[in-house]
Subunit: 210 residues, 2 copies
Amino acid sequence: MNISFDIKQFVETLENSCHKVRKKTFSKNEVITNYIEKRNQLCILLDGSADLVRYDLNGNRTIIDHFSKYDVFGEVFYIVSTNNELFVEAKGKCEVLFYIYDDIKKKCKINCKFHETLTELLPELILNKVTNLNMRIELLTKRSIRDKLVGYFNLISSMYLTKSFSLPFSLTDLADYLSVDRSAMMRELKLLKEDGFIEKTGNKITLLYK
Amino acid sequence: MNISFDIKQFVETLENSCHKVRKKTFSKNEVITNYIEKRNQLCILLDGSADLVRYDLNGNRTIIDHFSKYDVFGEVFYIVSTNNELFVEAKGKCEVLFYIYDDIKKKCKINCKFHETLTELLPELILNKVTNLNMRIELLTKRSIRDKLVGYFNLISSMYLTKSFSLPFSLTDLADYLSVDRSAMMRELKLLKEDGFIEKTGNKITLLYK
DNA sequence: TTTTTTCTGTTGCAAAAGCAACAAATTATT
DNA sequence: AATAATTTGTTGCTTTTGCAACAGAAAAAA
């Protein structure tokens, strides 16, 4: 995503220009943050990858979003509407920039450059999120596991412009992302293979159709 | 939603202040607009109700979003990411305000008040959409029809602050919204009734739990 | 390196959801 | 007011999905 470059630029040059900015590192499975309304926190993933997850009352785990280098997250992008708590979990070693704001829409009192740039970029960042959410909904509304898998593969394929790619998720996590049972998904992957739609070695997928 | 009032205010006073604004009426089942990238159109529903729908290759209909009075829609809020076409369909007689923009983020050349206010409101409107999308995802990730129904009822209930409410959808449309088979949903509704969780007369629901 | 933990791949069985078809009720249309 | 169209409610049957359990592979930790 071309927005990442902008973020990179301004993070690198400006991360020390505002006293409300803190950098912190996390190791695998640590909770980077949880989403609480009015926490007024915005985070930028400087290195590593992390997932936004929710656990429901039945113990089901759902991966809401997946973050990689230079992705931005925080409650502004996900206004909490239910009692289910949301966590951002580190998938490995992570470096995260935390930024606490008073009012995301208004200028920082100290008038720092960091905040100014962030405020400018915000609408674009949010629209970026909206696109992700829409894609997500499109996947989730598909009626069968097969359609979800194929939809997801098409997405990845068109993102990387190749019919052959490694999944950014483990298969276990992919099931949580598509909101289906893992073993049922494995079964469907096998059938897709048998029907000649895909090739699969470990988590490398090759699309054979179209 | 408190934002509606702002919209109402400024629409009523300013709808004639920009030459790029057009008002049009639609009758039931007419297509108000379809989503095409770079169409640069923003619509405000002045009266009636409408649905944003998608038909997939298998002929399944999915209601992506439901709009009522003063809701705002258009491609800015749903960046098209796939080949499936999206339509906004009138559910009855509708009055719609169309606004064509050059660049939603920049001021209108003629510097009209309409555009200025809209540009100011836009981030808030978008965040509003994000909340909706997140709620939607939360519903769709629920693993069973029962959980989807209950989740949806809770949402409506907490929105209207009452345990007794009429559904804003027909049952047929509700199934398309929850992305499940209608008859299977009817069966589950019956079971919910039999298990004493809800009362149901026509499309009026009363929650008996909690 | 060895041990432990997590992830992958598989399967039988049970439960849930989808499909199809139809009658009754409700809502539009003429 | 009569007719047509749509929505609701229901059910038997089929297919899909979920659950549980386990063995082997791979990855992480000791």
